[in-house]
């Protein structure tokens, strides 16, 4: 485990060439409430970085600012070197509550991003079918969201994000509305997909175990106003089986260390 100290983050980081997403001096005010205070972060390409923190620390706000869904009060987000002014095709979002269109089939939901890009029906359905298979939902193409379980719905959300072939995937607590057993399976599947797709993942969660299990890099935000408190790079051998990882001493130590750091924010 490598622990990058909080002190390092107060100085402006020099842009690293392999950063897919650069966050520079992001502040966010909601009326009188300061949600985020001068966030400087680099998200390395091809890695899974987790934003972790107590509830209300602004981690989802930061993710939505990166997505271009809400404007920052000040500061700048650059994706592949280009400043973000709104949502863009190089970023795809996975929502906490799935955000599937209830009137559309799994197929249409997954192909929706491609449909909006103006891609022809046969072409986009072929791509959608591939990703529906990849998330393990083959055979459910013509089902509607209300016919699926929570876990299956989020798989649709994940397939939709993969289908648009974005460089950066933004996941906002994707498994929090999924039951525990499904969540574990999901985390394992996600790691397999991270390995397979070679994309940059930014993942928001409030589960320490989930963060340590899935991440190459964990950014811990402090309580409101959100600031970068600590960056941790868990060095866990991911070639081991999921069950071995969960019993690994390094894994358990990292979980414990993060908990010790976060404990003071819990009332």
């Amino acid at each position: 485990m490598r622990n990058i100290t909080a002190a390092a983050t107060t100085a402006v980081e020099t842009p690293s060439p392999d950063a897919a997403v650069e966050v520079r001096g992001i502040c966010k005010m909601y009326a009188d409430m300061e949600a985020l205070r001068s966030i400087d972060l680099d998200f390395p390409a091809g890695k899974l970085t987790t934003l972790l923190g107590p509830s209300g620390c602004g981690k989802t706000t930061l993710l939505k600012i990166i997505a271009g869904l809400i404007p920052a009060t000040s500061g700048e987000v650059r994706v592949n070197g280009v400043a973000v002014t709104g949502p863009g095709p190089e970023r795809a979002f996975v929502f906490q509550d799935f955000a599937l269109m209830p009137w559309a089939t799994v197929m249409r939901n997954v192909a929706f991003g491609l449909e909006l890009k103006g891609m022809g029906k046969a072409e986009r359905q072929a791509i959608a079918r591939k990703y529906i298979a990849e998330v393990g939902l083959s055979g459910f193409e013509e089902k509607y969201p209300h016919e699926l379980s929570g876990g299956m719905r989020q798989r649709v959300g994940l397939a939709r994000a993969f289908a648009v072939n974005a460089d950066v995937l933004l996941l906002d607590e994707p498994f929090s509305a999924v039951d525990e057993q499904n969540r574990r399976k999901f985390q394992e599947d996600l790691l397999r997909l991270v390995d397979l797709e070679k994309k940059t993942f930014i993942f928001v969660t409030h589960s320490i175990e989930e963060a340590v299990y899935c991440s190459d890099r964990i950014v811990i935000l402090s309580r409101r106003p959100g600031r970068v408190a600590q960056i941790i790079e868990p060095e866990i051998d991911r070639t081991a089986s999921p069950d071995a990882i969960r019993r690994d001493q390094g894994y358990l130590d990292t979980v414990e260390e993060i908990w010790q750091g976060l404990k003071r924010y819990v009332d």
Binding site: L69, G86, F93, G113, L116, Y144, R160
Partner: protein, 250 residues
């Protein structure tokens, strides 16, 4: 419904009331209530007359135009009010006043404004139907989950496409409920409009039969009108059922 363990079909109660009507009619309690069988015979011959067909056509014409306007204006205004607080503040009070106001009282004023013809009837239908459509559309738009809208935006649906591909579809259950309620009110509007003002179409026939105490034809007219109103409502309800699952899932 079950009685003494037997399943009784839904329409059975209607049948029972029909039998009661027939008996009361046959007993000759009042000339206002002729036997149902006579009314049905009258209805059968009534629909074959040119007078009825012309009246029905006039009425249908006013109703369809008024309803179409009410749906277009109602959905657009409801959309504006649901999306923009400024519009909500500006129109909210008026919509709430008009939705509960006794609009029949306004009809004579409309007659002065729009004359004795069909225009007044169209306006009456519009005024009866539009407000509930506005209110229901507004409620539906406000119930659209934020995340669904964000989903649309983040996958590239900006501007108009956000409305046509996400927001209006997500609000469809409430919009349909509003249209169904609006249609029922619109049927009232068309008859009241024709009766009070123009004395044309269906209203003219109502006036004619009730003045001459021609109760068979009067009731025949009423039954046909009720059947049409209920049929329309059932039709929309049927479409509503198909999209009912929306509300639960989104």
């Amino acid at each position: 419904m079950t009685i003494f363990g037997y399943r009784v079909p839904m329409m059975a109660s209607l049948l029972a009331w029909c039998v009661i009507w027939e008996i009361v009619g046959q007993m000759g309690v009042s000339f206002l209530i002729p036997p149902l069988s006579d009314v049905l015979v009258a209805a059968f011959s009534l629909v074959q007359t040119g007078t009825w067909q012309a009246a029905a056509l006039t009425t249908l014409n006013s109703f369809v135009i008024g309803m179409a306007l009410a749906i277009v204006v109602g959905v657009m205004l409801g959309l504006l009010m649901g999306r923009f607080p400024v519009a909500d503040n500006l129109f909210g009070i008026w919509v709430n006043i008009f939705v509960s106001a006794p609009l029949s009282a306004l009809v004579p004023v409309l007659m002065i404004l729009f004359g004795m013809g069909e225009t007044t009837v169209v306006v009456t239908v519009f005024l009866f139907a539009v407000w509930i459509i506005v209110l229901d559309t507004r409620a539906g738009i406000q119930a659209v989950p934020r995340s669904l809208e964000e989903m649309g935006r983040s996958y590239g649906a900006g501007g108009l496409r956000l409305y046509t591909k996400i927001i209006l579809l997500a609000a469809l259950p409430e919009i349909l409920a509003g249209i169904r309620l609006g249609m029922v009110r619109g049927v009232k509007g068309v008859v009241i409009g024709q009766l009070l003002v123009s004395i044309i179409g269906y209203g003219e026939l109502f006036e004619l039969y009730s003045r001459n105490f021609d109760m068979e034809n009067f009731w025949a007219l009423t039954i046909i009108l009720f059947a049409v109103a209920m049929g329309l409502s059932a039709l929309i309800e049927n479409i509503e059922k198909r999209v009912e699952y929306y509300a639960g899932v989104r």
